[in-house]
Symmetry: C2
């Protein structure tokens, strides 16, 4: 079982987490891979995200071990000040195989110092100045659709999480399956290659 | 206040309804338009959509008058046999200004006989044979990203609901705002023009 946990909080951006949710659910449905995609929040109470009311599948306390942690954006100036978010992400990071941010989710891991020297990262167009500020020694690329640093991947704004999730599928299970998912979603998946720390180290 | 109601049911396809939700929420946030986007379901109980657990904003009984009704796809072979869905959509149709289907949501309105002679409609690639069967006198276009018949609009599969929703924003409030929303969502909005019943009758 491959566990994909998507963290949300009040006013997390809807498409930031629903795009990846859709990609990984379809990946499981269209292949033999056993993939469990679920929403994690602080407690099991309903979380209001821009009016969309989500009941989390798991809390930060009871969620299964994650293979992939996805951190969306939205309400990020609030989120980066919340100890419960910073502490939980910090505690998960050493245990997960990959961590993928979407949109201003990158600011949370930047705040934690996880975007370090030599890494390449991106975020939503409006988050770029903050990302530069939080990660002065990293290379911040406002034009990247997504970046791959091996364990940490970052995506541009909102819809970019669909592309980076499809890329994760390609990275984990091959391009044929990723293409199949994109075709099923009728998604015009154009950007299949990340801006990477070292283009020869991955893929 | 412009009311956008999105109907869901168990295993409605996540991106089918979250894509339009994101578009209309951002349209309100990025303009002076007062737009209320909400999820409608049979009752106020949590609806499990492919594992994503949604608490509806309104029930079929208490939802406000709609300007735009959006009907997603997903679990459509079940949905087209549910009287509560067929009856509610049928009762809403005369009252709304526009009805937009995404993916196999088109099968529901086709089953109701709303896709009539001379109309052009589309759906998810896997729904095309059923749509032809249910609407023998309509023109079914498997290659259309979305279609516009004036009051009734239909979209292709899953991600196509983002394009058709952006088109609805363009139709209602102008292309400048629609482009602004697409840019904010960092969405590569390529297909801005529907296949229409009569290219001169709209837009």
């Amino acid at each position: 079982m491959y566990n994909v946990g998507i963290l949300i909080w009040p006013n997390a951006e809807v498409l930031d987490f629903c795009g990846p949710f859709e990609v990984f659910r379809n990946t499981g449905d269209l292949s033999e891979n056993e993939i469990n995609v679920f929403i994690v929040a602080k407690t099991n109470e309903i979380v209001n995200c821009m009016g969309l009311q989500i009941k989390p599948n798991y809390t930060m306390e009871d969620c299964p071990n994650l293979d992939l942690l996805i951190i969306p954006g939205g309400n990020s100036q609030w989120a980066i000040k919340q100890d419960f978010i910073l502490n939980w992400v910090s505690s998960q990071y050493p245990k997960v195989s990959h961590l993928l941010t979407v949109c201003t989710g990158a600011l949370i891991i930047a705040k934690l110092g996880l975007i370090t020297d030599g890494m390449i990262a991106t975020t939503h167009q409006e988050g770029i100045p903050y990302l530069i500020d939080f990660s002065p020694n990293a290379s911040i690329d406002p034009n990247a659709r997504f970046t791959d640093n091996g364990k940490i991947l970052t995506s541009g704004g909102i819809s970019a999480g669909i592309d980076s999730s499809l890329y994760m599928v390609k990275k984990l299970w091959g391009e044929e399956l990723a293409n199949k998912v994109a075709v099923y979603m009728e998604y015009d998946w154009q950007i299949k290659t990340p801006v990477m720390k070292n283009p020869l180290s991955e893929d």
